[in-house]
Structures are given as structure tokens and as C-alpha cells.
């Protein structure tokens, strides 16, 4: 098995960048976890480590999705990428820009005074969670994304074979790009700052990214099982439709207590409570299709695809809905409960999504039909079991925190340093387990198709 169009191989560059950043993300995650116990353990303070952790996460997931798109669009349009050198240039330009941003974070971490105001904005770190990247970097990121989208649209225009999957995928990507813009201007008023900030954060993970996930899910089920496009695309439209019907107004679940009017309690509470529905539909979709499976050649690809659907529902849907009503969120807002949800949702929805796309497409990129799946499964169990325990640990810490700090009125610092100490220790231990899983996965990524595949008995 090999790729139909040589230019699809560009995906591999993005995947490589992604898995390396994944490793970095988890390494610094462990440092952050240890800093909960010993704040001074490392030369960089917690805020810099955390910034690196979450920015590496977002960037590698985006790189993975871009790589996946470079693979999917030629396949669906049945033609080569419109301009391969441009794609290559876009890749390297992105790597350079991201490297500069990271160096800036580290510099700022070592010497906060270096984070000067230049033309009214911070030079190295904007000091806004997830979108810490300074304004000049925003500009570079926008250019990179525009080049990427332009290249993909031109590819589609070459043959004009509009398919549902590629249409929804591109729609999701354009929506994603547009939703970066509300984070790119300064508001003097912190309420407005937070209001627009949530457009970026929420309308990414619960809007555009989930739309992209819906399209890629359909693509992967089609590739691994050979399920019928007609049926897959119909359910895909329904799923991503429901994602946006609930998710757009669901943004209101972040507008309960930040200075915005009270009517958001009703709107946010109602619509965000419905957000798990499309995610459940995706699980059903995956199972329904899998039941038709006859002879699946790429078993790990299918395995990760189904796992993605399940953990998307558990992490985003279940761990999301528990704290989404204003009556509950009033007590849990901004506690470890939020972190627990954040971890399981990102892992289930997007980490597993990108890894499944890698397992679904990499064999053909490397030109192999068969490969030894043992490491793929081993990595899955190490990562998933560790992540589940990290999340249970942090959910426990969150329950203790909500009870002692929010209900009983104990001091934040007292709860953190004494009552929750064991939870921090356990999280760090399970974090190392997660690192083992990631290492196996990354090793497998570099080995896949480059060693003789053992024949199955």
C-alpha cells in the first residue's frame, strides 16, 4: 500500500514535528506537577513551565491536524497538492516561528524585565493563557495558516471534486483560523478581554476543532473499514451540526461569573448541557460502522479511532457536563475539577484524534501494507491508563479543594500544601507512566515501516 499522490507525504513532516512537541509537552508537564510539591525545583518558574506545556500541546495538535489535512485533501480531490514547495515552505516557516516563540518564553522566564512593552504590546509573552504568543508571532501564525488554507483550496479547485468530508474539514479549518482573530487585540477592560479570550478558547475546542474531528472521524472510518461514504457523510453533517448548535451558545458557560450579564446562566447552562449529545452520536457512529467491519487490515488505526470517539465523549462530554450548570460551576469554577476535565477532554478528543490519523495514514506514507501493531497497543494502554489515573487523582484533589476551600472557607494555600499533598505526589507518578506511553508511541512513530514487518502467525 502506498500513497496515491506523492505530495501527500508532506503530512509526515508535520507529524514528526507534532510527536516531538508531544514529548516536550509531557516532559514539562511532569516538571509542572513536581512544582506543585516543590515550587523552586527548577530554574524556570511554574508559569513559564505551564506556558510551555499548554502551548506545546496546542501547537502539536494543530500541526497534526495540518498534516492530516495535507493527506486528506489530495486524496479526496484526487490530485497532487497544488503547490508542494509552498507547503514545504509553510512547514519550515512554522517551525522557525514556533522556535522563536519558545525561546522568547524561556528568555522571559529567566528575566521578566525582558518582556518589554513595544508598540503597546508585550515583546515576548502576552500574559494571556493559551494565547501567550506575542503580537508579532500572531502575525506570523496568521500568515502560515493563510498559506496553508490557500494551498488546500487551490488543490480542491484543481479538480472541483467537492466531497462532504473535505468540505467540512475545510469549513472547520476556516472557522478555526477566524476564531484566532478575537484574541489578537488589546482590551483595557478585563471583562472584555476575558469575553473575547473565550471566543478563541471555547470556540476552538468546542466548535471548530470538534468539527474537524467529525470530518476526520468519517474519513478514518471510511479508510479503515471501507464503510460507505454516503452514510458516513450524512451522520457527519448531523454530528458537526449539533456540535455547533449546542457549542456556539454553549460559550455562555464561561460567562457566568466574569462580569457579564446574568442571562448567560440560562443560555450557557442550557446549551452546554446539550454539548455531549453529538459526542455520544459519534461514539454510536463509530460502533455502528465497526460492526460492519469484515477484513480490517489496519487494526491499530481503527482501534485508536474508536478509542478517540469514546474518550472524546467521556473527557469532553461527561467530565464537561458535571461542572457546566451555573449552580455547580459556582463552586467548582477555577478549581482542580477544571484541570481534570481539561486533561481528559484534550487527551480523548484531540491527542487520540491526531494519533489515530497518524496510524491510519502513516503506513501508506511509508509505503508498507503491514506493520507490527504491538507497540501501538502498548503505547495506548500506558498512556490511557496513566491519563485516567491522573484525571481521577486531580478530580479527587478538586473535590477536596471545593469542599474545604469553597464550602468550609479554609485558605487556598492551606488546602493546597497540606490536604492535597498526596494527590500531587500521585499525579507526578502517573505522569511518569504517561511519559512511558508517549515514549513508546514516539519510538513506534519513527520505526513504523522502517523495519521488517513480522508476518502474523
Amino acid at each position: 500500500m502506498t500513497v496515491k499522490y506523492q505530495s501527500q507525504k508532506i503530512a509526515q513532516y508535520f507529524y514528526t514535528f507534532a510527536v516531538i512537541l508531544f514529548l516536550v509537552q509531557v516532559l514539562v508537564g511532569i516538571i509542572a506537577a513536581i512544582q506543585f510539591i516543590r515550587p523552586d525545583i527548577f530554574i524556570l518558574n511554574f508559569n513559564t513551565i505551564r506556558t510551555l506545556h499548554i502551548n506545546a500541546l496546542v501547537v502539536w495538535l494543530l500541526a497534526g491536524m495540518m498534516g492530516a489535512t495535507y493527506y486528506v485533501v489530495p486524496e479526496e480531490s484526487e490530485t497532487e497538492v497544488w503547490n508542494y514547495p509552498l507547503a514545504l515552505f509553510q512547514f519550515w516557516a512554522t517551525v522557525v516561528a514556533i522556535t522563536l516563540v519558545v525561546l522568547g518564553y524561556i528568555w522571559m522566564g529567566l528575566d521578566p524585565q525582558a518582556n518589554k512593552l513595544v508598540l503597546g504590546t508585550q515583546l515576548l509573552n502576552e500574559g494571556r493563557e493559551y494565547i501567550e504568543a506575542p503580537r508579532w508571532a500572531d502575525g506570523l501564525i496568521v500568515i502560515s495558516v493563510l498559506l496553508f488554507l490557500f494551498n488546500m483550496f487551490m488543490t480542491m479547485f484543481k479538480t472541483k471534486k467537492w466531497t462532504g468530508i473535505q468540505g467540512v474539514l475545510l469549513f472547520g479549518l476556516v472557522f478555526l483560523a477566524l476564531m484566532y482573530l478575537p484574541g489578537m487585540f488589546y482590551s483595557k477592560n478585563m471583562i472584555k478581554d476575558q469575553f473575547w479570550w473565550w471566543w478563541v478558547i471555547h470556540l476552538w475546542v468546542e466548535g471548530s476543532w470538534e468539527v474537524i474531528a467529525g470530518a476526520l472521524l468519517a474519513f478514518m472510518l471510511m479508510k479503515t473499514i471501507g464503510a460507505k461514504r454516503e452514510v458516513l457523510e450524512k451522520w457527519m453533517y448531523i454530528e458537526v451540526g449539533l456540535v455547533l448548535f449546542t457549542g456556539i451558545l454553549g460559550t455562555g458557560h464561561h460567562y457566568y461569573f466574569i462580569g457579564t450579564p446574568k442571562y448567560w446562566h440560562w443560555i450557557g447552562g442550557f446549551f452546554s448541557s446539550l454539548e455531549p449529545v453529538p459526542l455520544l452520536l459519534m461514539v454510536w457512529d463509530a460502533f455502528r460502522t465497526t460492526r460492519e467491519a469484515r477484513n480490517v487490515t489496519n487494526k491499530p488505526g481503527l482501534f485508536y479511532t474508536v478509542a478517540h470517539a469514546i474518550f472524546n465523549f467521556v473527557g469532553a462530554g461527561l467530565w464537561g457536563i458535571i461542572h457546566t450548570l451555573p449552580q455547580v460551576n459556582k463552586w467548582t469554577h477555577g478549581t482542580q475539577i477544571t484541570t481534570a476535565h481539561g486533561h481528559l477532554a484534550f487527551y480523548g478528543a484531540y491527542v487520540l484524534l491526531v494519533i489515530s490519523m497518524i496510524y491510519v495514514t502513516l503506513p501508506s506514507i511509508r509505503g508498507v501494507k503491514d506493520y507490527n501493531p504491538a507497540r501501538a497497543y502498548l503505547a495506548f494502554w500506558w498512556m490511557t491508563i496513566s491519563m485516567v489515573f491522573i484525571v481521577l487523582t486531580i478530580t479527587g484533589a478538586g473535590m477536596v479543594q471545593v469542599y474545604m476551600e469553597r464550602l468550609m472557607g479554609l485558605d487556598y494555600v492551606a488546602v493546597k500544601t497540606t490536604y492535597n499533598l498526596w494527590f500531587w505526589i500521585l499525579r507526578a507518578i502517573f505522569g511518569v507512566g504517561f511519559l512511558v506511553g508517549v515514549s513508546i508511541f514516539v519510538y513506534d512513530f519513527f520505526k513504523l515501516g522502517r523495519e521488517p514487518a513480522k508476518q502474523k502467525a
Binding site: 512544582q35 515550587p39 523552586d40 518558574n45 511554574f46 508559569n47 513559564t48 505551564r50 506556558t51 522571559m108 521578566p112 524585565q113 518582556n115 512593552l117 500574559g127 494571556r128 493563557e129 501567550e132 462532504g164 477592560n189 478585563m190 471583562i191 472584555k192 478581554d193 476575558q194 469575553f195 479570550w197 450524512k234 453533517y237 448531523i238 458537526v240 451540526g241 455547533l244 448548535f245 456556539i248 451558545l249 460559550t251 464561561h254 461569573f257 466574569i258 462580569g259 457579564t260 450579564p261 446574568k262 442571562y263 446562566h265 463552586w331 469554577h333 477555577g334 478549581t335 484541570t339 469553597r406 464550602l407 468550609m408 472557607g409 479554609l410 485558605d411 487556598y412 494555600v413 492551606a414
Partner: protein
């Protein structure tokens, strides 16, 4: 349902909800200015300081941010302004066990930051953060309090100090403060002007209290053994 119908439902449905969302956004933008005091030059400068030092990398504010350090929404109500400024400039000089590093804020930056945090504390947050339910329940109708205990509560001493685990950790714990050999007279002096007995103390003076209140408070403190 045909694929085409499903596609149209997706496109036009999403558009429909986005338009509603835009409408609500416009309305919210119009209301926001009325839900907080005016943003002065100092508040704006303070916000820049907040961003410059990436405070949100450890703290939450309005409940959003990182969960490594306390929420900043009402911090100015819990800490006296003088204390806050000293702490921001050099945390461990006023609280040796502080996890917060010395970031190098100038005096000017600290003032602006306090202005920003004061502005934040005045936002109408629909009642967030909520008052601790159980502590409130225990405070009323419980056993009768001495005058000293009442003063301790009404002055908000527990914002910084804690007794038997209840209260803040900015100041020293007072659970056994009566066992350290200081008598009531020392306490009165200390309460009136902390720096007269503890050099560089970050505790604000309570000279405005009546003599009676000071004496009752001191009497209460020496009983804590």
C-alpha cells in the same frame, strides 16, 4: 433525510445560532461598562503589569487561569493594601514560606497592579466567589462569643491569620500565640503600631480601634494556648 438536506441543516443551522450569538455579544458589550467602575489610567497600566509578569500563569482571576496559586478576584478585600504592595514586590520578605518568587516589580508597577486588582474586585460577578457555606453556617447562632472574638471577626483578622486551621496564611498562625510569652500589653502595643515592636512588619496598624476593643482583642489572644 438526504445528504443534501443534512448538509443544508448544518450550514444554515450553524449560521442561525451564530447570528443569535452575535446579537447577545452586542448586548453584553453594551452592558459591561455598567457592571464595573471606569477603567482609569492606573487600572489600565496595572493590567499591563499583570500581563507583563504572566501572573495568570500561576493564578486565576475571575476564576480563569492557572490553579497553582490563589484566585485574585477579591484579593484586595482580603489583604490590607500596604501588605499587598510589600508582598508583590518581595513576597518572601513579608511571608518567608511564600511560594511566589520575587519578580522584580517596581514600586510604581506594584501600585498600578493594586489599582487593577481593586478595579477587578468591584466587578459585578453575579455573586462569585460565593461565601463559604459551612463557615457562614457555623458563625451564626453558635456559642456565644467574647468581645475579643467579635473584634477579631469584625476586623477580618482571619483574612491573614488562622486559628485551628480557619483563616488565611499570609500572617503567622495564631492557634498558640498565647504560649509565646508575650502579654496583653505587648499585644496592645503591637496592634496599635506593629512596627514599633516588630521591625518591617507587613501588618497594618489598628490604632483606630477603641482602647476597650484593643484590650478585649489582646485578652482573647493571650488565651490562645
Amino acid at each position: 433525510m438526504s445528504n443534501k438536506a443534512a448538509r443544508n441543516l448544518f450550514i444554515f443551522g450553524s449560521l442561525f445560532f451564530f447570528v443569535i450569538f452575535l446579537g447577545l455579544t452586542v448586548d453584553t458589550m453594551n452592558q459591561i461598562d455598567g457592571r464595573a467602575p471606569e477603567v482609569t489610567k492606573e487600572v489600565d497600566a496595572g493590567k499591563m503589569v499583570w500581563q507583563k509578569y504572566d501572573c495568570i500563569g500561576c493564578h486565576t482571576i475571575l476564576g480563569n487561569g492557572s490553579y497553582f496559586a490563589p484566585d485574585m478576584t477579591k484579593v484586595v478585600e482580603r489583604k490590607p493594601a500596604g501588605y499587598l504592595k510589600q508582598f508583590l514586590m518581595d513576597p518572601r520578605a513579608v511571608k518567608p514560606t511564600a511560594a511566589m518568587p520575587k519578580l522584580g516589580l517596581t514600586s510604581r508597577e506594584a501600585d498600578d497592579l493594586v489599582a487593577f486588582l481593586t478595579w477587578i474586585s468591584k466587578i459585578d460577578t453575579n455573586g462569585w466567589p460565593p461565601k463559604p457555606m459551612l463557615a457562614a453556617a457555623a458563625g451564626v447562632g453558635g456559642k456565644e462569643q467574647t468581645r475579643g472574638q467579635q473584634v477579631y471577626q469584625s476586623q477580618g483578622c482571619s483574612n491573614c491569620h488562622n486559628i485551628n486551621g480557619i483563616g488565611g496564611t499570609s500572617g503567622p498562625e495564631l492557634t498558640r500565640v498565647g504560649a509565646n510569652g508575650k502579654d496583653a500589653a505587648w499585644h496592645v502595643k503591637h496592634l496599635k503600631e506593629p512596627r514599633s515592636v516588630v521591625p518591617n512588619s507587613a501588618m497594618p496598624p489598628y490604632a483606630a480601634l477603641s482602647n476597650d476593643d484593643l484590650k478585649s482583642l489582646a485578652a482573647y489572644l493571650v488565651t490562645l494556648k
